[in-house]
């Protein structure tokens, strides 16, 4: 059986609790080899705990994690060689320069230094001018770039990025996502968490959304948007609508522009024609229509009831 048929990551009935509080509750999902998979959720949803259990930083209470068919506790030396992790918090060793630290990290994974690969990472992540600076002299953005290079230095087949763009400028974000796509095209499976829903929407083929330690949605990004995002339709009227007719309730109307317009979120089973048939039936005259495709914010809000921690 070729490796392409073995899932990159299988999480089965994973549980973790701290001081009696369940942080991850019977979590199960599978990431196929070659995917860019997004794990989303508000703060405290259990994303980082899940990632830490996969990478070996956090002990698993019950359940199992398999990386390319290898159990991450029984065969941890194999799974850790196969996995590269960029943690959410900035984790660096202040004693060493970027160049030295990257060489050392390759060694930690039992790998001989590959200068061509190291220089590629350095080049693509814009670290070239800072190679011989010690870590504590680097800016926050450079530290994050280094952490990405560090996660990739041993050529992992599963790359885990936990909030890689938190607090970084737009330039780095674009560089990073371009590079992640390139790495993915070279065959690396990517699991990422991000607070930027727009990025998840653009980057990820499939998404899992967690809330309170549980999986509340798991589907392809496209299907998730169509199923739960709803199309947004804004209709302007020839007069002010003072009271929204109850007949429009199934279309989830919200007044905008001081009552001269209504914005509707259409569920999957309702067509735009159904909406306008209903509006016409009520004797209302539409002067302008604007439609917007569903977005992840709507899905996220609907599933978690919270948008405060995401953008």
């Amino acid at each position: 059986m070729g490796d392409m048929q073995i899932p990159a990551l299988v999480i089965d009935q994973l549980k973790k609790s701290y001081d009696g509080a369940d942080v991850v509750k019977n979590l199960s999902f599978t990431i196929e080899s070659g995917e860019i998979f997004g794990l989303l959720g508000p703060n405290g949803a259990g994303k980082s705990t899940t990632i830490n259990m996969v990478s070996g930083v956090t002990r698993i209470d019950t359940g199992s994690v398999q990386v390319f068919g290898h159990d991450n506790r029984q065969a941890y030396r194999i799974t850790r060689c196969l996995t590269g992790v960029m943690h959410q918090e900035i984790v660096i060793d202040n004693f060493f320069t970027i160049d030295k630290a990257l060489k050392m990290h390759a060694g930690y994974y039992g790998m001989k230094d590959d200068p061509a690969w190291r220089m590629l990472l350095i080049d693509r992540l814009g670290l070239g001018a800072h190679l011989h600076k010690v870590m504590f002299k680097l800016s926050g953005g450079l530290k994050r770039r280094f952490m990405i290079a560090k996660a990739l230095i041993h050529k992992p087949r599963l790359l885990i990025l936990d909030e890689p763009t938190a607090g970084v400028d737009i330039d780095l974000r674009l560089t990073l996502w371009d590079f992640v796509r390139e790495i993915n095209e070279r065959g690396t499976t990517v699991l990422l968490t991000t607070h930027y829903l727009e990025e998840a929407e653009q980057m990820c083929g499939r998404l899992a959304i967690m809330n309170h330690g549980e999986l509340v949605a798991l589907d392809s990004t496209k299907r998730l948007l169509n199923r739960l995002g709803g199309r947004q339709v804004t209709a302007q009227f020839d007069r002010q609508i003072e009271t929204i007719p109850v007949e429009l309730d199934p279309f989830h109307p919200v007044q905008t522009e001081e009552g001269r317009a209504l914005r509707f979120a259409l569920p999957e089973e309702v067509t735009t024609i159904d909406l306008f048939d209903k509006i016409r039936g009520l004797g209302l005259v539409v002067t302008e229509i604007e439609t917007r495709p569903p977005n992840l914010e709507d899905v996220f809000l609907r599933l978690t009831g919270s948008i405060n921690n995401v953008r």
Partner: protein, 263 residues
């Protein structure tokens, strides 16, 4: 890791050697603190006890005080620095959070322990060698059983490197780390017979000193160098060996379980 499942680029032993190399580089990078400061401290002791009091006092028949105190000072340097290296390195990794860099790698707990321990032993024994070299300006030593002395110094550095790992795991802050050093390690060293032979202590202090593990190490090392001491050499090695083994098992248990390292 079996051959058929090992990632193709994996070189066995390399993770351990890399960590050992990193730990040695870490203390060499701050050698002004880790090597030269202890040497200067020991040199001051040597000056005080060698150049000023050395010829005037004798606590052991046939030897002047400088000859008596030098083995203790050498071993104190070995012990202090072996302990400080593992304690500070592992604690800083925990404190700064970069211990996760090791937790996500294929380095096994015994490899991690050995890499930290051997690096600490290199530092401790290096300081011990330099202290001995400096001491030659003040007094010559007979070196009755040099290999035994080296064996005892190695055992002492091994034991206190393990001790440093235990302290680094249990310490919750810089304050508690220095408390372990100031209220446990230093009193054990100073009361363990560096500056005086335990045999001259009145009771119950003499008997109580036999409960101090440092006494066995210092006396064993001194006996190997001077040819005379309070205890038979085999007893010193036995106590040091048992303590090292127990501490190693304790550290393997703690690090194997990820105690205070992983959540």
């Amino acid at each position: 890791m079996s051959d058929n499942s090992r990632p193709e680029h994996y070189i066995p032993g390399r993770p351990f050697l890399t960590l050992l190399h990193k730990e040695v580089r870490r203390f060499l990078r701050v050698s002004s603190q880790t090597i030269f400061t202890p040497i200067i401290t020991a040199s001051l002791y040597l000056f005080i006890f060698g150049a000023t009091l050395g010829e005037r006092i004798s606590v052991l028949e046939g030897f002047n005080y400088a000859q008596f105190v030098i083995p203790g000072l050498i071993l104190m340097g070995v012990i202090n620095n072996s302990f400080a290296n593992t304690a500070s390195s592992l604690f800083m990794s925990r404190y700064l959070g970069n211990i996760v860099d090791l937790l996500v790698t294929p380095i096994t707990p015994p490899q991690l322990i050995l890499a930290y321990t051997i690096a600490a032993m290199i530092r401790g024994l290096s300081v011990g060698i330099v202290v001995w070299l400096v001491s030659t300006f003040f007094a010559g030593l007979p070196w009755d059983a040099p290999l035994t002395a080296i064996g005892m110094a190695t055992m002492a550095s091994l034991l206190f490197a393990q001790c440093g790992l235990v302290v680094a795991i249990y310490a919750s802050s810089f304050d508690s780390l220095s408390m372990y050093t100031n209220f446990l390690i230093l009193p054990l060293i100073y009361l363990g017979g560096v500056f005086y032979p335990i045999s001259i202590l009145p009771e119950p202090w003499g008997k109580l000193s036999h409960l101090n593990p440092m006494f066995y190490l210092i006396d064993g090392f001194r006996t190997a160098i001077l040819g005379v001491g309070d205890l038979p050499l085999w007893l010193s090695f036995l106590v040091a060996g048992i303590m090292s083994a127990l501490l190693f098992i304790w550290v393997v248990f703690l690090i194997g379980r990820g105690h205070r390292l992983s959540s």
